[in-house]
């Protein structure tokens, strides 16, 4: 057991594994911090709603499939889990885990993952804790590429729909094929950019249309907030005046507006 990195107070008992197209990462949190995290993560929210309280659980969130798995850990697997987390499995396949200065240097092996990371992940993924092998339950039926994708190999086969450039080509050229590549290979490029740039988000000049869009979004958000505040005020007044029918209507309106 370790201390939750989020609150630095409670012990962790929720072990999260995030799987995306090109990477797998781990985090462990305490239950209250996981609840907070879940507010921004619908998949996690759904899973935690079904989770038993006060028991250590393992959650695997697969953002490619927009789904997650939940398993309750017994003491033995829990120890193994904690050991694995301490082992620093967190950065497993971040692109460019190698320290080479050239962001595009190809050091001969698959830069996306090391053999160790691969076998560790395989163990992790197929651990008895799941009870099922995710590759035999039909989710990735004899689809080798999908299986590879789980372990980061998928990025090798990823191809830009617009210009047909592959990640391999981008790595060897040091150049993207078209502007669409930044969407297709966003996660991979993030690895490159974090090593050769100051930060991963643009903060400079924008084209006029982007400035206009931002202004519109700002005024839209302001308008939305005003309408919410107005409805809330009317709701409070209705409750105060004991006009419960009106209040119920207003509450429904408020809810639907909040969800917009």
């Amino acid at each position: 057991m370790e201390i939750c990195p989020c609150c630095s107070v409670r012990q962790t008992n929720i072990f999260l594994t995030y799987i995306s197209e090109e990477s797998v990462s781990h985090r462990s949190l305490c239950a209250p911090c996981a609840e907070i995290e879940a507010q921004n993560d619908p998949i996690l929210r759904r899973i935690l709603a079904d989770a038993p309280h006060d028991e250590p659980i393992k959650v695997v969130i697969d953002s490619r499939e927009l789904q997650g798995h939940l398993s309750v850990l017994d003491d033995e697997t829990l120890d193994a889990q904690a050991f694995e987390m301490e082992d620093g499995a967190i950065e497993m396949w971040e692109i460019g885990a190698d320290d080479d200065e050239d962001p595009f240097a190809d050091d001969g092996d698959d830069a996306d993952f090391s053999d160790d990371a691969f076998s560790e992940a395989e163990d992790d993924f197929e651990t008895e804790a799941f009870g099922v092998d995710p590759f035999e339950n039909g989710a990735f039926e004899d689809d080798f590429d999908a299986k590879s994708a789980v372990f980061g190999v998928g990025s090798r086969h990823l191809r830009c729909e617009s210009c047909a450039t592959t990640w391999e080509k981008i790595k060897s050229d040091g150049r993207c094929g078209c502007s669409q590549c930044y969407e297709t290979f966003g996660a991979q490029l993030l690895g490159v950019v974090t090593r050769c740039q100051r930060a991963a988000t643009h903060v400079g000049k924008s084209p006029t249309w982007e400035n206009k869009r931002r202004l519109r979004a700002q005024s839209e958000a302001k308008r939305h907030a005003n309408r919410l505040a107005l409805l809330q005020k009317r709701l409070d007044e209705a409750v105060a005046a004991e006009k419960y029918e009106d209040a119920a209507q207003l509450r429904d309106k408020l809810k639907s507006l909040e969800n917009e």
């Binding site: 150049r175 969407e183 643009h202």
Partner: protein
């Protein structure tokens, strides 16, 4: 020691470059020939519509109309790159006569706005490039627009340019730091501040005639102002270091320095066959002598002009036809003899110490 208001005793020139791409087309290296030609055609129209924003009339040169040996002079003038001039299809440059503004078409990115000004005036160079960027953006916006995302900023072929697409650089004359063996220290200094010190002709080039190019490394995660201020601050610091090194050179090594200057003058003034590197090295020493008030008769600007005029491709363009290496070396020596005719060294050179 003379100091220009804009640091031009050390800073020869400054440059701002903005990389932009058209959303509708693949980046130049991946684009088809019809696309490359279409991009160029649209750019010509955009420039026609934006003519009022240009600082001076732009001359548009499609590369198909200029032979490779002549295109090489664009590198000599610090206007283009080897990969750009190596191709001709759909490639082009539009530039003002003094190169204060130029636009490269289908280099690594579809459009590269450049402003090249003497001395340290990055802010003015930025304003110039930025104004043309605005003008062309408003032309292209209803036609697909520039490739931009809120997260990544301006999208460029190479992720090392993504974001602002801005490269700010200064050309520094650092003979004293080089002679004192302090260039590596200067390089570490700028690298710690997120900048790079490169060779004379930019990326991957050697350093010739003690000329070094200083530029920002990052283009994403910082604003244009950050880039300009950081580059300017590092430029000022290196200029101060160079001046201190010149003082030391004068205080501790006057005789060997005068010896080097005297030999350089002899070469420039009387040689009849001079290679480019030899000439660049000698010119560098003469420039140093000028900054130390040992040489009079030729203004500072003349040294800038000469450092380009002696470049191999530039010589051939001036000649109007290709020259053999031997012809170039003779031509170069002739230009230098004429240019240094008016230089007068101080009395110490004549009398001896």
């Amino acid at each position: 020691m003379r100091r220009g208001g804009r640091e031009n005793d050390v800073v020869l020139s400054c440059r701002v470059r903005l990389a932009r791409n058209l959303r509708e087309f693949a980046f130049p290296h991946a684009a088809s020939t019809p696309d490359l030609l279409e991009i160029r055609k649209q750019t010509v129209r955009a420039l026609e519509k934006s003519a009022s924003q240009a600082p001076a009339p732009l001359v548009f040169t499609p590369f198909e109309s200029v032979p490779l040996w002549a295109r090489k002079s664009l590198i000599d003038r610090h206007l283009s790159s080897r990969p750009h001039i190596a191709e001709d299809t759909g490639r082009a440059i539009a530039a003002t006569d003094d190169a204060a503004f130029s636009l490269l078409v289908n280099e690594e990115d579809h459009l590269r706005f450049q402003s090249l000004l003497p001395g340290l005036q990055l802010e003015d160079a930025w304003k110039l490039a930025n104004r043309m960027d605005d003008a062309l953006e408003s032309y292209f916006e209803p036609r697909g627009g520039f490739a931009f995302s809120a997260e990544w900023g301006y999208l460029t072929a190479c992720p090392t340019n993504v974001g602002t697409g801005l490269r700010a650089s200064t050309m520094l004359h650092l003979p004293a730091l080089e002679i004192a063996g302090k260039i590596e220290r200067a390089r570490r200094y700028v690298e710690e501040r997120g900048l790079i010190l490169r060779g004379t002709l930019g990326e991957g080039s050697n350093c010739i005639g003690h000329l070094h190019q200083l530029s920002n490394a990052a283009t994403l995660g910082l604003t244009e102002d950050d880039v300009l201020l950081e580059t300017e601050a590092a430029t000022l610091e290196l200029a101060a270091q160079e001046r201190a090194a010149r003082e030391q050179l004068l205080a501790n090594f006057e005789t060997p320095t005068r010896d080097a200057v005297g030999r350089a003058f002899g070469l420039l003034r009387y040689a009849h066959v001079v290679s480019y590197e030899e000439a660049a090295q000698a010119l560098s020493m003469m420039r140093l002598a000028h900054e130390m008030n040992w040489a009079r008769g030729v203004p500072r600007q003349k040294f800038n002009e000469l450092s380009v005029a002696i470049r191999p491709a530039f010589l051939q363009v001036q000649n109007g036809a290709p020259l053999s290496a031997a012809q170039r070396d003779a031509q170069r020596a002739s230009i230098l003899r004429v240019a240094t005719e008016k230089i007068k060294l101080d009395g110490a050179f004549e009398a001896g110490l």
